[in-house]
């Protein structure tokens, strides 16, 4: 049979193209995948609304939004704030530098109130504050930093200050009294001041906190998780090294055992790994340490489809079929096996997704991604590649498929 160079060229082109794309773009994709805080350091807190309050989906959403505004004050690049269940909020701050400050800031309810001289009755509420109405300024006389508050409704402030003229009007943040200015004159401009801030930073923080708004429910900390940044980097490095050895072992084993189809399996596995990472990036999956472990294990599992197909091809060769016939029959017969075994896993993963919480959900997503991608690569791509080689007529010896001549029986 004549060697068809065209098919061979298409095969080589495909392989080179896959490797080239993988080599040039993987770094970029990797950098664009969000890494969990166990990999880059940071901390996570799970809050739960204290029992005995009115809680509904909208209130929790508002609370999450308020926390988010507050986190932005910290300058964390990608905070993840999610409402879980009916009464919980999970706050994940990867890469946060000052954990202590973050915790303090998150823990405050930041409910601003202006009260009557006894400190019991609330006269004006933080809700009356204009959007971004809190600013840092300096007292013209003492040059101390102060926080100025621009109110939505100037009349309300005027009424209150008229009523309590000459008396102190304490300003509270939660149950802490910030300052208790004595009302010297009726305030008509709608602007109040908080004094007593020691530094500009402190004043700025208070202003930011007030602008972020109060959290509408009382939250209690249920659990927390904090990782130093260097530890996260260590974990990432260790798991990647483990992954490298695992993948090398798998590649050597598959090529050693299956020869040519093994080599094709390795190419499809490279494509598999690449596509899974690409999907992680596109779906904005946060990669955690167990996620990396599952990903590496997934490579081992994705080989299964290649192994099933290659074993089938070898069987067909052993009963004396020609290479093209064996490849055709082997890939056809193995298809349903691979299909059925993967569908059962997808059923399991789908249920886990529907009923699982947080980490179980994330896990099931990567499981499903892995299966679907492995279907594309281990079934479709490896069939294309091996068929190109078969049709180019260069495959003459069954030894390429790791089948010895003496194993072949007559048809």
């Amino acid at each position: 049979m004549k060697v068809r160079k065209g098919r061979l060229a298409v095969f080589s082109f495909l392989v080179v193209a896959i490797l080239a794309i993988v080599c040039t773009t993987t770094g970029n994709i990797w950098n664009n995948i969000t890494k969990g805080l166990d990999l880059q350091g940071g901390f996570e807190v799970l809050y739960q609304a204290e029992p005995g309050q009115k809680v509904n989906a909208q209130i929790m959403k508002d609370a999450a939004a308020a926390i988010e505004r507050r986190v932005n004050v910290l300058g964390v690049s990608e905070p993840e704030i999610t409402v879980e269940g009916t009464n919980r909020i999970r706050v994940q701050l990867a890469g946060v530098q000052d954990q202590k400050k973050a915790r303090e800031l998150l823990g405050k309810e930041a409910h601003l109130t202006f009260r009557d001289p006894t400190g019991k009755k609330v006269l004006i509420d933080g809700k009356d504050l204009k959007q971004n109405g809190a600013k840092v300024d300096f007292d013209p006389q003492t040059n101390q930093p102060i926080v100025t508050l621009q109110m939505k409704n100037a009349d309300k402030l005027a009424d209150v200050t008229r009523k309590y003229l000459g008396q102190p009007m304490p300003i509270y943040l939660d149950e802490n009294q910030l300052s208790a200015p004595v009302i010297q004159s009726v305030i008509t401009g709608g602007e109040a001041q908080i004094t007593g801030q020691r530094t500009v930073e402190e004043a700025q923080e208070l202003a930011d906190l007030l602008n972020a708004g109060a959290i509408p429910v009382k939250l209690e900390e249920k659990s927390s998780f904090a990782v130093d940044a260097s530890l996260g980097a260590d974990s990432l490095r260790e798991s990647l090294i483990a992954g490298l050895y695992a993948v090398l072992a798998i590649f050597i084993f598959v090529i050693g055992y299956y020869r040519l189809p093994g080599l094709i399996a390795v190419i499809t596995l490279i494509a598999y790994s690449y596509l899974v990472l690409l999907t992680f990036m596109l779906m904005d999956v946060t990669l955690t340490l167990p996620g990396i472990a599952a990903f590496i294990l997934g490579i081992g599992m994705a080989v299964d489809a290649n192994i099933i197909m290659n074993e089938r091809i070898r069987e067909e060769l052993r009963v004396g079929r020609s290479i093209p016939a064996a490849v055709r029959a082997g890939s056809k017969r193995s298809f349903l096996t691979i299909f059925d075994s993967n569908i059962t896993t997808i059923i399991a993963a789908a249920v886990l997704f529907a009923y699982g919480t947080s980490s179980v959900k994330g896990f099931s997503v990567s499981l499903v991604i892995g299966i679907i991608v492995s279907f594309l690569t281990a079934v479709a791509l490896s069939r294309i590649l091996i068929n190109l080689l078969v049709r180019s007529n260069i495959l003459k010896s069954p030894g390429l498929f790791s089948v010895r001549e003496d194993e072949i029986s007559d048809l």
Partner: protein, 303 residues
């Protein structure tokens, strides 16, 4: 065709081995239970990593010096450089800093701390949800396999799946390894792998049943033996590749995922075992009983 191993012939031995393993696992679970991590019992866990191996006795002494009586501390990590300190209460940031400063100055090393404070409700909820999910998933798998194969295959596959889960949990109980939330993910991976592995053998049995229609025990047993042998290389090679991965992760992947990887290692090997020695054997015994009953019924009808 001569067999290297007659898998079906020795099925009673495999059943006994399997039952003994299940009994040991369940027994250990009942007697000593699981070594639950702080995900399931409230408290704080500090993973304090240093530049060099930790002197546990000295570290414990220092912790006692700071007022923690009988500190629950152990050493972990590939280089034995992580001190894992568990407390049954929450600690403040100041206390945490005090500990890391003290240890840093005593051992002359840079100290990094990973801290985890947990309310057990969350972990228990997660475990409960995971168990419910596995049960529902099992029903889904049973329905699918019954439609595509037959109900005996479905039930046998699910029994093998439960065996793998029980074995892995049992091993963690026997060895008293710490169980945390990530362990649940490992069990779920094992569950997925176990079914996948079993179905490949069952698929072969189904295919071979279409070629030979067995009526005698020898024929049925031959179909199952043939099917296991035809898929044996695949079974071994697939489990080898996943074991390479799990083993590398266990050996090199760091302290945080070492138990996760070990659970995978147990479960994946068990998954390969149970497909051949549990699922297939249950199926062949059950199928034979059904065939005999049918025959008896036919005879009765003929008379």
């Amino acid at each position: 065709m001569t067999y290297k191993i007659d898998f079906v012939e020795n099925r009673k031995i495999y059943f006994i081995i399997t039952l003994v393993i299940v009994a040991l696992s369940v027994g250990s679970l009942l007697i000593q239970g699981l070594n639950l991590g702080i995900d399931f019992v409230s408290g704080t866990r500090l993973d304090i990593s240093m530049d060099k191996p930790v002197d546990l006795a000295k570290a414990k002494q220092e912790l006692e010096g700071l007022g923690y009586e009988n500190p629950n501390a152990r050493v972990g990590g590939p280089n034995k450089n992580i001190l894992i300190f568990r407390l049954d209460k929450e600690i403040t940031l100041q206390e945490k800093e005090k500990i890391s400063q003290k240890l840093g100055s005593v051992f002359h090393t840079k100290v990094n701390v990973q801290e985890q404070v947990v309310d057990p409700i969350i972990g228990r909820e997660l475990a409960k949800n995971a168990i419910i999910s596995v049960l529902i998933a099992s029903i889904g798998i049973i329905i699918y396999v019954t439609l595509r194969f037959e109900y005996r295959f479905a039930v046998a596959a699910i029994l093998a799946l439960f065996y793998d889960a029980i074995f892995t949990v049992g091993m963690f109980s026997i060895l008293q390894l710490e169980v945390d939330i990530v362990f649940i993910a490992a069990i779920l991976t094992i569950v997925g792998y176990s079914v996948n592995d079993t179905i490949v053998i069952f698929d072969r049995i189904r295919e071979n049943l279409n070629i030979v229609k067995p009526t005698k025990w020898e024929e049925l047993s031959k179909v199952v033996n043939d099917s296991i042998h035809q898929t044996l290389t695949r079974s071994i090679n697939t489990v080898l590749t996943v074991v390479f991965a799990a083993f590398a992760l266990w050996l090199l992947g760091g302290e945080s995922i070492s138990n996760f990887s070990l659970a995978l290692l147990f479960g994946l090997i068990s998954g390969a075992y149970s497909s051949i020695f549990v699922a297939s054997q249950i199926w062949v015994s059950w199928k034979w009983r059904s065939m005999q009953k049918e025959k008896a019924g036919d005879k009765l009808a003929a008379e």
